[in-house]
Symmetry: C2
Subunit: 453 residues, 2 copies
């Protein structure tokens, strides 16, 4: 019988993050100033990010050394295990060998802690006295709160109001780590007050919460800095510990994946898992990377590759990415972490260049796969991660049809213990598929900023 899990010793936590940009045949487009449309300069970011993070965002080094205090905190929970999904393979009667890298083993319950620890460390080094951020479903807010407590920096979280009300447990996690959590839009910022005036009774959105957190930092007189949990280069960089470990784990048992599968919202989780393998692909190795997204928010499969704002109100620099339009509001699927109109510019460029594939799945199919996975492997996956599981299961079924062996590596980015309302709806037959919001996408795409690239 094969082993169920492949573990590494904590001395094997990577010493460097891997930066894919120098290896990319075509580089991601540079960020542009939201007002002038000119190339954004480091100073444009300085009001909200410390300079050491801005430098890392723009680095062209192949490898970036993980600072000792960060690596030390990684060692509390890393390397995370790679599991062989033996019981799932059996349930599927597939000749494929399915592995999953489990980031839910982090005490925050997801991969988000990998970047949270790094970002708070750099802020501590830079003298930041308080951190601000937004959170939707709450995974990022939980991770940043934990990291802030580890470094003793107070943290203010603007949590999308509908999540604040529907997921009180997520708020409790953040409060347990000492954070102050506001339902967004709040009374605490100019942006929040104006959203409340403009949209009375609104349930909030990630775009509004970003605006509040950015304003809070920008108007703090330098005391507070802002932190983002995905999309940006430095966040993708931090997450590469996932793929670096997974590669070593598979090597240990003489395996190399035919396909690496992950879910994509902002993109940092799948960037982290796939980039170390895509490096091999760039240099000639045969390996596929499959990005899985919801059909209700099909950024990579139906978005336009164009410059757009990262937030709803147009405050962030313009980024060259796949976008459904910054004004697009996705239907209320349970995978809240995938409801983002854009994606990481570096990941989008790889898709644009054909180095990464993308597929979009309906919510009900995703939950069918999630429940099959839970009943086979015991772990109840987060709705976001379940998209990767569904993509992996489809790959396994294809292997069965073709009667071929295939090695599939799935990124299981988090557990679903705080998302059980979605499973309840599924069991009660209340979970629905949404029709493709093509009209809304078309409409939002009309509002793309005009940029001369």
């Amino acid at each position: 019988m094969a082993d169920h899990k492949i573990l590494l010793d904590e001395s094997e936590v990577p010493e460097y993050w891997y930066n894919i940009i120098p290896d990319m045949p075509n580089k991601p487009g540079p960020p542009l100033h939201p007002g002038t449309g000119q190339l954004a300069t480091p100073e444009d970011f300085a009001a909200i990010f410390p300079m050491n993070i801005i430098e890392q965002e723009m680095t062209t080094e192949h490898e970036v050394k993980i600072p000792d205090p960060v690596r030390e905190l990684y060692q509390m929970y890393r390397p995370t295990p790679v599991y062989r999904a033996l019981r799932l393979e059996k349930a599927l009667k597939t000749p494929a060998r399915i592995y999953y890298k489990y980031e839910g083993a982090s005490p925050a319950g997801s991969h988000k802690l990998n970047s949270a620890i790094a970002q708070v460390y750099y802020n501590k080094e830079a003298g930041t006295k308080r951190m601000t951020t937004e959170t939707g479903a709450g995974q990022w807010g939980s991770a940043l709160s934990m990291a802030c407590k580890f470094f003793n920096i107070p943290c203010t979280v603007y949590m999308v109001k509908v999540s604040f009300e529907q997921k009180p447990y997520r708020r409790v996690v953040m409060e347990t780590f000492g954070s102050t959590v506001y339902a967004s839009p709040s009374e605490h910022t100019q942006a929040g007050r104006s959203f409340r005036d403009k949209y009375p009774g609104t349930s909030g959105s990630l775009g509004m919460a970003i605006s509040e957190a950015v304003e809070d930092a920008a108007t703090s007189g330098g005391e507070a800095k802002y932190s983002l949990g995905s999309v940006l280069n430095h966040v993708c960089l931090h997450q590469t510990v996932i793929g670096l470990e997974a590669k070593k784990q598979l090597e240990k048992i003489g395996e190399y994946p035919d396909v690496v599968v992950g879910c994509v919202g902002g993109g940092s989780n799948f960037a982290g898992l796939s980039f170390p393998f895509l490096r091999d692909k760039i240099y000639g190795k045969e390996v596929r990377a499959l990005a899985c997204e919801p059909s209700s928010c099909p950024t990579l499969t139906r978005g336009r590759f164009a410059y757009d704002f990262g937030d709803t109100s147009g405050m962030t620099p313009l980024m060259l990415m796949y976008t459904l339009g910054h004004g697009f509001v996705p239907p209320g699927i349970h995978a809240g972490g995938l409801r983002y109109h854009g994606g990481a510019p570096v990941l989008c460029k790889l898709v644009n260049d054909g180095l990464m594939e993308a597929s979009a799945y309906d919510q009900l199919d995703v939950f069918d796969s999630a429940v099959l996975f839970a009943q086979s492997e015991g772990i109840i996956p987060a709705p976001e991660s379940s998209h990767a599981i569904h993509g992996g299961i489809l790959e396994a079924k294809k292997a069965t049809e073709e009667g071929k062996e295939r090695v599939i590596l799935i990124g299981l980015s988090g557990h679903g213990f705080l998302d059980l309302a979605a499973y309840d709806a599924y069991h009660q037959g209340k979970l629905v598929n949404f029709p493709l919001p093509q009209d809304e996408i078309n409409k939002a795409l009309l509002d793309l900023p005009k940029v001369n690239v």
Copy 2:
């Protein structure tokens, strides 16, 4: 810097469970028939348990081989890690070295899966077509549901009504693994209907739910068998994988605990952790075992060592244990898994013989320690496990006062992701200490069954 965690390879999952009874200087009292007060025979248990489990309950072997299919399922998540609580030690400024064995790493979120897998395996072997059980807070019901799904046996869970309503997520976990969950008292059993008649609007109790699950099995014509998640010898036996692994893990780094600390409700978790160490103590080694319980349900510290029923209505065999009286209803503390009037006879006998110590703690002190632990180690502990953390922290503080090194091993039996309402109450200042329910205990002790031992 010392390592943060001590891992074992899955080939090191124990091959045998350890049975402490043959090593005990004085044996636990035998169970008695609830009606006649005579020694209970295997046949007395046959209506609700399969014969292979009854035999295991009575075994006098020192070691019991773990069946291959059980060990194979253990290997999905075992060996669980032992962590060094480096950041907690620093926060406490203690010379003590604190380790914790983390059973929350199980996909069910607690140690309960160790016995659930074994019990369902034996039932499958014996031809059982359906399992019944009760659950309070839901940890046991979740674990048994997962194990039943692994072996494809349908499972019926009677969940205490107040938990069914207050912890819907726990129900969703059980349903995700295919179980049928009833709020107890239910309409599905004679016992349930009579409880509903007798106590209109009752929120239920573990005692009532046990009565329902036992009746369901006993009246099924042999199709269904009943399963209990703690207290009995075979459950404590299954849990010894915890202590066997922990001992090997500490050996690996040249450590041996001065004190082993765990929480006790029914007692199986702490039995599992401590018995392999208590074997050494019986044969002359210096090691302490400290059982931690809530001051609101102080079974080991204020109970009477006497024969009593395991359930409220007096249907189970009589067991010689510490008891607060089977009619005692503990105050509504958040550590639902510790609200039990009795305890495992084998563990109680060790306390009675002075081989194990016991302490009782107030709810607020326990949560102070739980939050300090979470903020230091990242893991939010279950309220039950937090009693062990509090006991361990007190031991570390004693070491600080005495200026002595001390090696402390804490049993962290589960995570608290499904218990966050308790933390919410704590943060809001709504968590209270209950006064010692001495009058209620005195009253309940008047109703102990009269037995001539």
